[in-house]
């Protein structure tokens, strides 16, 4: 790679790359993010490569390995461009058939996606409701780019926003544009990004300033940052270069958790390529502007996603939040002004400058512009990454895009914002998603995790699960957060065991409010949310546990008994699968469960085809 010495050099390179590509050549696209690889995308890639080489098709059919496209439920899938044919859950044998079909120019009808509800076969990826109902401005780039090839990013229009800004040479204008766009921080709190940049730019530029990309995504069930890092690392780098130019920062840090090996790998490659091309480092593209980015790996503490704890972690100290003020923008890394933005915020920056701030503002609502990626998981038919404009209703995300409930059980609630978010009941699904509405409903936007729960989910158990996570992940500095989460867990555990009393419920609520009020950082202040929101919307479930010692969802083991009803034909499937030999009975007769021996594993219920097993 030859170093580009000026903006003109870059433009010449980009023009050449665009002129060289031929979009009519059929391209086999295989998404191989962490989710894809886990479902077997690597094998598909190997087979595809072998087929293409052995049949000498490399000139006729192109292969592109991309990051996650978002439809994780259907992984491993392949897409054939330019038609956009979508083959879900591709098996090893089917891969060679697909290559053959592409060669012939046909479509394999039998392998196409079938809509679960209408039973209609849909060929094109964009026509599938999951993709069709989204507005994918960030994720769409994951589809088009091979993350380890910088040229691929450039030919798709990458780094042109940055070069335009360098040409224009007016940092103030850049900040104004970001302010006009109304972009709010995607990390959870929703602080306007432009305002943060303005504050950083106004700090005296004595010993240098820092900008940080917060990629310490730790919420259980949330992985949109990982997918963006894996699938499109250059957009983060470009965003950060623009940010540095606008604010006068000379150093950037990407703080990424070590549990994301693929993201780290792609970032390392991307940073090296950007440096080799002269897009990073001293005198970017021959201009006066100097900026470089370092990669910092986090050691896996949830609290290090909090900005002051993250800064301390970068400094090599223990990851503990500290009092603000002084804000990081005043005193950050080593006391120097520092601005921290989330991965998704940085990924939005090049998009703002591609079409202008006014255009960006058109998506979303007045106070919440742009799109937001959610990771839709849990008891919903199509799990995956969903990108929708701000102001979309929860109903649309869960039912239209997510396809509604998996089985017969109705959807009861959705938990947004990860462990410190809250549960929103189904009756509020008309709520439009934005920072204010979610906070008002007792949840938070957080980084954008969305866990769907149905009637077979016990809300007390959910609160207990999150409290268990938080009592381990609280840094332990604030006494109320450390001990408060432990005590809340203790009380919730008691309730799920049937030991709860009405007094303990009052104590739980009182404690939750105190913890919310008295802790220092975002983790502690939002830690009681799972308790408070479930108490607010599902208090009757708590009361059921306490007063009648009964778990309505049939989850809390201490409070349920399995028994067999008259539907039983005596097939003895359950008898054979029971690990504790608790089921007895004669063939073709009603079977009986011995409650003394039953360990309540639920194996019998899941294997019974006649719904003969009841939970009482």
């Amino acid at each position: 790679m030859e170093k580009l010495k000026s903006v003109t050099d870059f433009k010449r390179l980009q023009e050449r790359l665009v002129a060289d590509r031929d979009l009519t050549i059929p391209t086999l696209v295989i998404p191989a993010g962490t989710c894809g690889q886990a479902s077997g995308a690597n094998d598909l890639i190997r087979i595809a490569k072998r087929e293409l080489l052995s049949k000498k098709l490399t000139e006729k059919i192109h292969l592109r390995i991309t990051g996650c496209h978002g439809f994780c439920e259907m992984e491993p899938f392949v897409v054939v461009e330019p038609r956009g044919t979508f083959y879900p859950k591709v098996g090893l044998k089917e891969m060679s058939q697909i290559v053959e079909a592409i060669e012939k120019g046909t479509v394999l009808e039998g392998l196409l996606w079938v809509d679960g509800e209408t039973k209609k076969t849909i060929e094109k990826k964009d026509d599938i409701p999951f993709f069709h109902d989204q507005v994918r401005t960030i994720l769409v780039r994951n589809d088009k780019i091979d993350p380890i090839r910088i040229y691929n990013y450039i030919e798709n229009g990458g780094y042109s926003a940055m070069t335009r800004i360098l040409e224009k040479g007016n940092p103030e204008w850049v900040r104004e544009e970001v302010k006009t766009s109304g972009l709010r921080g995607r990390g959870g709190a929703g602080f306007p990004a432009g305002l943060k940049w303005e504050m950083l730019a106004q700090q005296p530029n004595g010993n240098g300033k820092f900008i940080i990309c917060n990629a310490d995504e730790g919420d259980p069930g949330a992985y949109m940052d990982r997918s963006v890092l894996e699938g499109n690392p250059h957009s983060i780098i470009e965003g950060m270069i623009i940010g540095a130019y606008a604010t006068g920062a000379i150093e950037g840090v990407i703080y990424v958790r070590n549990e994301y090996p693929l993201a780290i790998k792609h970032l390392v490659i991307a940073l090296r390529q950007a440096r080799e091309l002269g897009l990073l480092g001293k005198n970017v593209l021959g201009t006066e502007f100097t900026f470089d980015i370092h990669l910092m790996r986090g050691a896996g503490a949830f609290v290090c996603g909090e900005e002051t704890a993250l800064i301390r972690s970068i400094e090599g100290k223990m990851g503990e939040p500290r009092q603000r003020p002084p804000f990081p923008v005043q005193k950050g890394i080593d006391g120097k002004p520092t601005a921290i933005n989330n991965v998704e915020t940085w990924a939005n920056i090049p998009i703002i400058f591609e079409n202008g701030a006014e255009d960006f503002k058109r998506t979303g609502t007045k106070k919440n512009s742009g799109t937001k990626i959610f990771s839709l998981v849990g008891k919903v038919k199509y799990t995956g990454l969903v990108e929708v404009p701000m102001g979309t209703t929860l109903y649309k995300v869960i039912y239209d895009i997510g396809g509604g409930p998996v089985g017969e059980a109705k959807i009861k609630a959705v938990q947004t914002g990860g462990p410190s978010g809250g549960c929103i009941p189904a009756k509020l699904f008309d709520l439009t998603i934005d920072y204010e509405n979610l906070t008002q409903a007792g949840a938070i936007m957080g980084s954008g995790g969305m866990i769907v729960m149905d009637e077979q989910t016990c809300m007390v158990d959910v609160a207990k699960y999150f409290m268990n996570f938080l009592k381990d992940e609280s840094c332990g500095k604030c006494f109320t957060c450390r001990k408060g989460t432990q005590r809340m867990y203790e009380i919730l555990d008691g309730i799920t065991r049937g030991e709860g009393t009405l007094e303990s419920l009052d104590l739980l609520e009182e404690l939750a409010i105190t913890v919310k009020d008295t802790t220092l950082c975002g983790l502690g202040q939002t830690a009681p949310n799972p308790v408070l929101s479930t108490l607010r919307y599902f208090r009757n479930e708590y009361l059921e546990h306490i007063e009648h010692k009964r778990c309505p969802a049939g989850v809390c083991k201490e409070l349920i008994t399995y028994c067999i009803n008259k539907n039983c034909t005596g097939c003895q499937l359950c008898l054979r699968i029971c690990p504790s030999e608790a089921i007895t009975g004669k063939k073709k007769e009603l079977q009986v469960i011995d409650p003394e021996k039953c360990i309540k594993c639920g194996a019998c219920k899941s294997i019974c085809k006649l719904s003969a097993i009841d939970i009482l």
Binding site: A301, V303, M318, G319, R322, Q323, P325, K471, D472, E473, S474, C475, G476, K477, C478, F479, T480, R482, K483, G484, T485, Q486, R487, E490, E503, S504, L507, E510, L511, T514, D517, T518, T519, L520
Partner: protein, 225 residues
């Protein structure tokens, strides 16, 4: 100078002072556990909470770490503060019932019940000893380890630290009179300095019916030997 209101009283304080210092200077009592003059403020025990701001933006902050701000309205004993403080003390009592300091604080705040499952821990992880060791003794022999419920204070790998001069400062300033000397196991003590301590009971001479809350009282027991 910065001017602000504390409990409705308009006061002036030098820039850089904390709300705790300013409040105490003007005679508003605020209970603390982890705070100590001469050590950097840390904000771990949360007892020194005060309410700042107004209306929907009102919030509780630890006065030991929050600097005075122009025009700030501070309430050191609003009902919100009292309620939070009581709950914190109840939590403290639930974990470390044997500390005289905590019992006294709880008593002063009229905490009469303790509704949690009783635990018998000693350390409240306020970090006074850690800061003392680092900032005043320049030893850095002890520090925090791990996070969440596994958080603890000690030397690295629980091996006796070579940086430790056995000065006993950590023990001396412990607000719950803990970090107890495990003097019967010579390999394990953090400092061994408890031998230099005068037993706390000495101050109570003349008050025969005074009850010692510490069981066992480290200093008394050493004296017995």
């Amino acid at each position: 100078m910065v001017s602000l209101h504390i409990n409705g009283l308009e006061i002036a304080a030098e820039e850089g002072t904390t709300l705790l210092e300013a409040s105490r200077f003007y005679g508003f009592p605020i209970p603390t556990l982890c705070h100590m003059d001469g050590l950097s403020p840390y904000g771990a025990c949360r007892l020194c909470l005060v309410e700042i701001g107004e209306g929907a933006k009102a919030k509780l902050v630890t006065s030991c770490t929050y600097p005075v701000e122009e025009g700030l309205k501070v309430r050191t004993a609003s009902s919100r503060v009292i309620k939070a403080r009581k709950m914190i003390l109840e939590l403290l009592l639930g974990s470390c019932p044997q500390s005289k300091t905590i019992q006294d604080l709880a008593s002063a705040s009229e905490v009469r019940t303790q509704r949690f499952k009783q635990e018998y821990e000693d350390c409240i992880l306020c970090g006074r000893c850690v800061r003392m060791c680092e900032e005043q003794m320049m030893a850095k022999a002890i520090g925090f380890r791990s996070r969440g419920e596994k958080r603890s204070i000690g030397t690295p790998f629980d091996i006796q630290s070579e940086d430790c001069r056995r000065c006993g400062a950590c023990l001396y300033i412990c607000p719950t009179c803990q970090l107890r000397c495990t003097y019967t196991e010579p390999d394990r003590p953090i400092c061994g300095g408890c031998a230099n301590l005068s037993p706390p009971c000495l101050e109570k001479e003349g008050a025969e019916d005074m009850m010692c809350y510490m069981t066992p009282c480290v200093a008394c027991e050493i004296k017995k030997d």
